[in-house]
Symmetry: C2
Subunit: 581 residues, 2 copies
Amino acid sequence: MLNLEQMKWWGWGGENIDFIISDKPELWSYIKKVVGIDGEPTYTPPIKFEDIELSLQILNEKFINQIKTIIDKERFTFDKKDRLIHSYGKSFRDLWRIRHGIVNASPDCIIYPLSEDEIAKVIKAAKEYDVVLIPFGAGSNIAGCLEANNGSGRMIASLDMKLMDKVISVDKISNTARIQAGALGPQMEKQLNSYGVTLGHFPDSFEYSTLGGWIATRSAGMQSDKYGKIEDMVLSLRMVTPEGTIVTRTVPKSSNGIDVNHICIGSEGTLGIITEAVMRIHKLPEERKPYGYLFPDFESGVKAVRECVEKYTAPVVTRLNDPGKTALSLAYRNKSSLLKSLLGNIVKWYLKSVKKFDFSKSCLMLTVFEGDKETFDKMKKKVNKIYKKHGAFNLGTGPGHAFEKGKYDFPYLRDFVMDRNIMADVSETSTVWSNLLPLYYLTFESIDKAIKKTVKTGFLGCHISHTYHTGASLYFTFGCQQIPGYEIEQYLYIKKAAEDAFMKGGATLSHHHAVGFEHMPWLKDDISETGIKAVKGLKVSLDPGNIMNPGKIIPPDGNEINWGLSKGDIEKFESGINAGG
Amino acid sequence: MLNLEQMKWWGWGGENIDFIISDKPELWSYIKKVVGIDGEPTYTPPIKFEDIELSLQILNEKFINQIKTIIDKERFTFDKKDRLIHSYGKSFRDLWRIRHGIVNASPDCIIYPLSEDEIAKVIKAAKEYDVVLIPFGAGSNIAGCLEANNGSGRMIASLDMKLMDKVISVDKISNTARIQAGALGPQMEKQLNSYGVTLGHFPDSFEYSTLGGWIATRSAGMQSDKYGKIEDMVLSLRMVTPEGTIVTRTVPKSSNGIDVNHICIGSEGTLGIITEAVMRIHKLPEERKPYGYLFPDFESGVKAVRECVEKYTAPVVTRLNDPGKTALSLAYRNKSSLLKSLLGNIVKWYLKSVKKFDFSKSCLMLTVFEGDKETFDKMKKKVNKIYKKHGAFNLGTGPGHAFEKGKYDFPYLRDFVMDRNIMADVSETSTVWSNLLPLYYLTFESIDKAIKKTVKTGFLGCHISHTYHTGASLYFTFGCQQIPGYEIEQYLYIKKAAEDAFMKGGATLSHHHAVGFEHMPWLKDDISETGIKAVKGLKVSLDPGNIMNPGKIIPPDGNEINWGLSKGDIEKFESGINAGG
């Protein structure tokens, strides 16, 4: 195996990274309280590596012999650990199954290409010998984009892009950089920073996701309010398909018919492999500081956020937590956290008695300003004025710094609670401003009801982290004790409640997490049956043999999606099977 | 015929609108000078309506009978004038042919639908009876998108969308408006303005183009630096195709696979009929003023424009003319023009003697600031500082107001010169900043050389009117005396020189004028052969019978495009056939 850093097969992050809860003294007791655990739950670590049995390895000798002429031995692997790592992404369903040794569809081999030329040859061989290819960046996808669940008996190869990780060139006059698709967030930013520039794309998965993955899934980073979503940053790209290579031209905008960049963006590996892209970049800001604010309630926070974008005054980060997410954030604080002292007794007294804050309703906002000195100062002043008008209390930079420090931590916490039989996951969407609060209430109620149909109580929170002139995202986090023997069904029942509410409420199945397999049941409602026909047309024209990541994006004909939650399961939950009673 | 305002069949604008040259005392003599005419050229008005013979009318009785059950009699027309109006767009080739009575492929009937339901029924009938449909907004397209040149013997119906012209609803909280696709610029803005909002989309064709046309061609308006290109404004849309209706959801952004909005945007009528869209809108600005500046040369103007976007300080309009375009603008001034007095003798003396301006190189910049009072003042101050640094002289609001007054006039001037056997047309593109001046020089030389291969001298100018963080547009205007008997070939020879230079110089075939038929020869170079395969995949899946605007966007198999310029023609021009010698 290559000496590459991969995420642990059983959870988030590198094998040597552990989640330290001991420096967050209130977190574990807070979680236990909200999910209704007295004492300590059973500790259930993942199955041992030795005890996992992978699916039977299918070996297509002709393909293998062909690949051996293209790819060096050490970049063409068949071993168990590599197969296991490339079996899944990191959705709750992925992790629960792998932790329990349920791995039904591992790739049969892993290929680590070094160049577009190698990729083209691999795809040619796969097409000739009918082998399935699944592109793999860093494996952080949570929509089921990576599972080889539709091979139809064919050999499956995972194409791990991590060796194609270079910033090829930077054009500081044009504010563009040509970057290989396998570049991981941190390595890419390090290379860009050495030129004094940044891409400005920092998704929660930043440490374990790649440029190619971001483009293939229409990702959004936490600084999207300034820098845009990934699709706004692509000037041109190259994508190798079984029917040839798509190459677009590096221009800011065009009117050359249907935008071919947008045929590749969001294609989730089903049409071909994105090998590189020319991206819009920005000079590193001179000044940058995160601030915390406390709003009396979610509604006033939403009003403030909307007024900022309406006035073309959106900070680079605006992250408004609802009361549930606020409570979790406060519980997350570590021993030395400034937040703690800021929310100390005097401030609390002041907010409660003088400002009439109801702490069960109050909401933490994290806001980052950046720019040259002048822009920074003006933006801060204007935003502070708007926030103040809507009742916000400025907590200073303490909570901001605490947020910046822990901003990539949530998936580690999920592993920690999964070790203790607690399910935790997310569902997110976007909608227009006039529908934001109605959708929030509707979805909140839908998820809350679903959790309580399965257990007595659970955690439910939401935050807004991407804002637009016309609307914003809503990002729900939920968790509860698992029902033994029904862990997946219980999870799907709650996940379905979220997605159903998004559809009923006029929103979209995901703002930035992709369709993959997990969100496929809602695709028809989202893009219409004729929209699906169009996407199928692309598939047939570029991948007639269906070798590229089959079973993703396009629902099977007749739309019978075997999602894993039967009518019987639903009925059981509706009728009140309940871990607590 | 319906009592609808249509453009004159022989030129630009309503039948009752004439181009008044008498109030621009220097214009005609300036034009004659640059195209090398002494005295007065032959006056060659368009052919008389009565003398035009349209192509044989194909009548598909079954289709006609079916349409009669769907569409009222007065909205389903067959008469000569209506057919003539719907025969072409307004490209030079379109206008020259129609003015000479060359109309080979008129639609056989015109249908004016009132609703999406009617459109769906019309498309169903067209599919059933194999009739070609060509969507028509206001007919201002200049890329050959509207000509029915690929009917293959089938009946052809033009679907005129102008009766579907309503702003259906405005959501001022979300900054969105739901608008029917047939809404013409002025009527749409009037409706929006009554709510205190604007779409912010003002293409040169504004008075004679529709929302549906803008979306179908990926149009850009002159205020795109603030408001974006049309594709940036679409939240959702509805498009009726022969295989069903695409319906997307009104959300600011999504990650629902390949962006189905972008499958419809830029489809140029080849997949279906866009019936309505929900668009991003903006509050009308409190303050708005246009200013003129004079830069010592094009290069310093480009530097100034780039520095503004680099510093996130782009005014709503930035229009930088090169020396050629500057001279035309100055010649365009009318009797009472402030520009004239501002560029009077004292100012001229100051610029020449003190500032060392070389008037043969100096460039006029038109800049519009808008926003609330604070934004307006700050933006103006910052931009003025940047302009000054690059040597600009502030001409005040006079030239700005003159520009605003005449900003939709150019196509009228083209009609005037065509009456006098002078060809005039445009080609535009976009590129990244580091390539902007190299591409400008390359294209300028290419067009200039081509003109001079056909005649002694001509007009050539360029302006920049759309800027981005990564680059800008380049918009070339050219004109010269026509060679009798070779008018179209001469035009195509010069047009080809522009497009060839765009491709050679790494740019795109068009920044905002569409592919249609006119730009098809460059499509393969622009989006790659595999990109064309993808677009074909969409066509096959949504319009398998090829009834929707055939012959546009997708080159014929084998890429033998009969564009109208033979190798023999090219050789003739290369060898120096020359009107003057």
